[in-house]
Symmetry: none
Subunit: 201 residues, 4 copies
DNA sequence: GATGAATGAGCCTTCATTCAT
DNA sequence: TATGAATGAAGGCTCATTCAT
């Protein structure tokens, strides 16, 4: 990788990544050829290889983009006041994102990465790292709820956080397969789970 | 291409599929070459192509096997007595299967299929069909619970069934990525959800 | 090649050759697979290889059949009375054969053999042998005509015989390519050539 | 697949076609593998597939080259003065070409194409188109002869033109099979035919 | 820095042929 | 003798990657 002027470089990288993301979302990693990315970006093979060492690095970079997107979502949803409301805000943000064209496209790539994580260690680390933050945040909120007495002490915050994340991952899958899916339905189900966490009298 | 007698055929098909499943679980669909399947099966290229039109058909057939496995799991878990116990039995069966080597291997393939469903219509149909049955069965149990008064009438059975399936799909993902994961943790989370469905007094 | 009872053997051979001829005429030598011949004949691979050493021998045998057909045609057209009428009879027989479905099918194979003769010595010998007899016969008739004074002595019988055969070969080509082609047209052209051979006064 | 600049492309295309022509003339279409063309050209598989979609397109292009060669031959032979001399010039040009190494090589390919025309429609069109021009030109000359009174009005120009072409096609066949064949012999035969066309007194 | 023509290892697939039953 | 399942060498083609300009 030759060293380029940082600004130009960053701009080109983004250009390439945007093209790659479009291709990946449309055709998947393995069905996408470098030629596709070249056509989509309007650049040349040499140029792409000037910025990325190869297809794998391109996938890796796309994975980082996704990681960042999820982190941003989470940050935006952060609502420190009430623990339960904080959980609801996160849920709502995630579900809303899934209804936007942009969000869906990003999830299509996510699913590719989930599968890829099975055999590419770098991607597995990326994926599990990406999932760690929401889990930690949710677990914290749950602990907050336990401290303030609204959530049952018997609940294991980490397990429950993982379960909630699992739920949303499943929602993503079903949504991507084209199953009819409304945000309110999902929120209602989430509320049921929340009510199951309430302190027993 | 050669016309084979049904009996001979079935045996070889299974042999080939077993080899293919091993390869697919280990390396994924796209990283697996026909040469890999040949090596794994100990058969020849021509023999494989005598039974399957190509790699795609092999993937398709593997998908059907998985479909069948899930159906069998579900049937085995069927416990007609109490609705809530029925749900618990299904959850337990699914979670137990995920702890077995065999079950895990099968899930690795499932994840591949989930991703593949994004661009292969035949596989998408297979995957969504495969998910329809558990959803229907769970929804039925939930309705049974509503009829017998142990589950809140306000719950939408279909949505909740979908949510439960989503939860398990997410568990599968996390398990496959190597996250520490105990059946009892997951069952506890499931119980919390169940308690959230209970009729409010 | 195992030794079979001569009658059965001959019958099977013919069965196989008939199937092969049908395939070859339809698809050409190279586009025809042994599997095609198997399907067309209703026999098995092993059976075919019991009678023919391989595809090449099959082609060779088909070539001999064609050779024989032409020879039969020629014999039938033989009309010893008048030399010029003898030539006309041969021409008419050849042209008539080209109008029959059966004759056309055989010519399709002939054209394949003509091309094959370029690189297969055995076939080249077959083809040139097959052409030698008509040339010899025509040359004889021409010489007869020269002796009886109806044909110009300046004519080289062999060259002219070759030319006449060439003409018919060309007719075959054009007929096979689907060019409109009537027997009477061709006969008229042949008559013009004949009149060009007449003794100059 | 790569988009090439027209100039670069044309040069490489010719290089590839030259190599392909050499292989095809030597071994025939079906016996020639892409590997042969690669070896002959000194290029790589990828390069060849960058210029031609596949073997079929290569054959097609070779067919066009041949077409062009014949057209050039015809144009060069065009001698507008006397109709009969025009016909002689064409005959002589065609026969002379058959004696040159280059011409022979080209005819070997022609014969392949003639056979291929039986099952490939694109090639059949190419071949019949290629034959249409000489026929038309010869028919015109014959009509000219009829107008100027040197050729019998009873002759059908088109049929006779087709016959002459057929004759030369047959000459080509025999020449390719290695039959002894002198230009003067063939010209003498052609003269005989011409004299058969002369106006009857 | 960018270009794009060229590379070539490797993939999927076909099909003539064999051989145990 | 016939069967037909199995073989495996070989062919056509793709595509990630390189490098001279």
């Amino acid at each position: 990788m030759p060293k380029l002027r940082p600004e130009t470089m960053a701009a080109r990288r983004d250009e390439i990544l945007a093209a790659a993301a479009a291709c990946f979302a449309r055709q998947g990693f393995h069905q996408t050829t470098i030629a596709d990315v070249i056509a989509e970006s309007g650049l040349s093979a040499g140029c792409i290889y000037g910025h990325f060492a190869g297809k794998d690095e391109l996938i890796q970079a796309i994975g980082e983009q996704r990681h960042a997107r999820d982190a941003a979502l989470l940050t935006a949803a952060r609502d420190s006041s009430d623990p339960l409301d904080g959980l609801r805000a996160i849920a709502r943000a995630a579900l809303a994102d899934m209804q936007k064209e942009d969000g869906l496209r990003s999830r299509r790539i996510a699913l590719q990465l989930w599968a890829e994580a099975l055999r590419d260690d770098a991607i597995r680390v990326q994926v599990t790292e990406g999932v760690r933050r929401p889990i930690a945040l949710i677990a914290e909120l749950l602990q907050g709820g336990q401290r303030s007495g609204v959530i049952d002490r018997a609940i294991n915050p980490r397990s429950m956080a993982r379960t909630m994340v699992a739920m949303f991952q499943g929602f993503v899958l079903q949504r991507l397969w084209g199953e009819p899916f409304s945000t309110s339905e999902a929120m209602a189900a989430f509320e049921a789970l929340l009510s199951g966490l309430a302190t027993r009298r």
